[in-house]
Symmetry: C2
Subunit: 372 residues, 2 copies
């Protein structure tokens, strides 16, 4: 193996592949990046077995790739990233010197790194699943940021640590819930597909980091894996086994109370109230009436806060409702738009929050009982 490549492009590709690598992988080979120098391309693979990333640098790209000798190796990702990041040159030479050591040369600096045997790196199947659809980078970003925050961080019900993607026709539905709150995003696709899969939240956050601002992402799924193809990079993730709960019946359809409020004012008020925590949770109370909305929080140990929200407009009988402040904060941040609408059914009934501008996203939150 012997090739020459632009430092900038090599570093960007190594960083992309390294995103899949976990510090806690049980398999030593998975701490490395597999580098394959082909006839006219360089293939970089990183994986932690749950998520795998393959990215390709082609001779025809701007990366000034020259391949003198084909071959492959696996190099500890933290070492190769640090060397390539710090090397004192724009063009890097990478050469296998004695079947194990890899020489990386800059201008005055030269490094020899012990590589690992590429044959010991597990073979990863990057073949494309059958069901495919396309989303713009922008739409996929929205889908991920508007749902993933609501997945469960507890492993007691593994299926809730993922986002459920389902489609039977041309409307994609994405749902995340930790059973105390739920976030649901719908999106029209340009073709008909049929699937019902649950993608780990962790994997979606890695996909998010790789998304650019423009262009399209091809998404291909079957019942074993989901693949996101972004230019010359494939991000592939395992799915979470198990049946995702039927969530549509949880969402109320009729409401007795309605609150409209400026998103920015409410976020500021929740942020101010949230220093009051009991057991790490900040419970906020909305006191609602025709006169407006008062947000308060209280703890015997710390003290209390109370704030009138001047932008609030409420219709319905007077109502007091309490919930986890972080849930409302997260939900409102996930919605786009300046005005948000709370639709409520009663003190202890789940309520929904939506943006007045975008009815494709719905946030549902369960209230909590307070005795203060």
């Amino acid at each position: 193996m012997y090739f020459k490549i632009s430092k900038k492009d090599f570093l960007a590709a190594l960083s992309t592949a390294a995103r899949a690598i976990s510090n806690y992988s049980p398999l030593p080979a998975f701490s490395g990046i597999k580098i394959t120098a082909d006839k006219d391309q360089l293939i970089l693979i990183g994986s932690d077995s749950d998520i795998s990333i393959q990215t390709i640098l082609k001779k025809s790209d701007d990366c000034k790739l020259e391949i003198f000798d084909m071959g492959q190796t696996v190099i500890e990702s933290k070492y190769i990233l640090e060397i390539v990041r710090k090397i004192d040159t724009d063009m890097i030479e990478v050469e296998m010197v004695d079947g194990v050591q890899v020489k990386i040369s800059g201008k005055s600096a030269e490094f020899k790194i012990n590589g690992m045997n590429a044959d010991e790196y597990p073979l990863i199947d990057f073949s494309k699943p059958m069901e495919t659809f396309t989303l713009s980078n922008e739409s996929l970003k929205q889908v991920i940021t508007q749902t993933t925050f609501a997945v469960s961080d507890k492993e007691t019900r593994p299926v809730l640590t993922g986002v459920n993607f389902s489609c039977d026709g041309s409307v994609l539905q994405c749902v995340a819930t930790d059973s105390y709150r739920l976030s649901k995003k719908s999106m029209e696709l340009s073709n008909n597909v049929k699937f019902n899969i649950t993608i780990p939240g962790k994997s979606l956050l890695e996909v998010l980091k790789t998304l650019d601002n423009d262009g399209d992402v091809e998404i291909a799924v079957n019942d074993k894996k989901a693949q996101f193809v972004i230019n010359d990079t494939i991000i592939q993730t395992r799915l979470i086994d198990g049946v995702y709960p039927e969530t549509n019946r949880l969402i109320p359809l009729e409401f007795d109370f309605e609150l409209t409020i400026d998103a920015h004012e409410l976020l500021g008020a929740i942020d101010r109230a949230s220093f009051i925590k009991s057991d790490g949770v900040s419970v906020i109370k909305f006191t609602l009436s025709e006169e407006g909305c008062i947000l308060s929080s209280k703890s015997l140990e710390v003290g209390s806060s109370t704030e009138r929200l001047n932008s609030a407009s409420f219709s319905g009988e007077p109502l007091e409702i309490s919930c986890n402040g972080k849930y409302v904060f997260d939900a409102i941040r996930a919605l786009s738009g300046d005005l948000v609408k709370f639709s409520l059914c009663g003190e202890m009934k789940p309520f929904i929050i939506q943006s007045l501008r975008d009815d494709q996203v719905l946030e549902l939150i369960l209230p909590v009982r307070t005795y203060a």
Copy 2:
């Protein structure tokens, strides 16, 4: 207690006082900031008993302070900082409401915080010690940054965790060593003083954070404490007991080898070589001869690096010398100037590094033996 004050100035003063507060203080009162509203000033005190900070806001300052009612309280620093930082107004009202609770009001938001009894806060003596001298902010910054990095982080010899300040006449000498390296800074004072004290490195780093870019700092010391007075803020620290070792005899006066090198090039090369570590330490080797300087590092497990330093100029017999790369890196960063000079006596003898531009700072490093 009832006063009104500009949010910006109150927050800045609270943040200054809070710097002294440690999360690990055994005394509950020390997790709070003591606030005293006097006739025409507000006194804020934070302390962890090792270091204490008092800062004063006067009616005559720009802080728009109005005092309606004198009094004092102690408020948990994390709560008051968070409230004042986030409050929705430029002018804040602070009022004791029932002898315990403190009401903090903004525009639409109002907070009530449980205060602590100010009588339970230990009395801190901020009286000024006898021996005093003055340094510019800039000079004190230099003294601290050029020495403190070299203090020991091990408690086995407590006196080495501090920087020794000594003066018998008008030349201040500041020395820090962890017994593997030493950094010494000299500075001419404008008056004669006599003392020999050791200030905890940790306290000096807190002083550093409070230093502005201009103005003077008055430093007052006795054998119990050191006080730094910066405008209306007093930072006071305990000293470390014990006799500081006599270090002057450790510094060689005659040398057989001399290396001059560009500081920037050497820092880059050490940074590149330092990914190779054994037991967390990156040992670098200088191979020196009339032909120049080669920097290398090696570990059986990881691999090796080698780099020719083009700016190097060496005089003396050929020499190989190895040392902890971090020590050289820290030392060169502490020196100002583009060119640095290494003065050496032999493979296993301590060597010194100095800037060609400033002979008031001296860095001494002990080499290590390598078998590779």
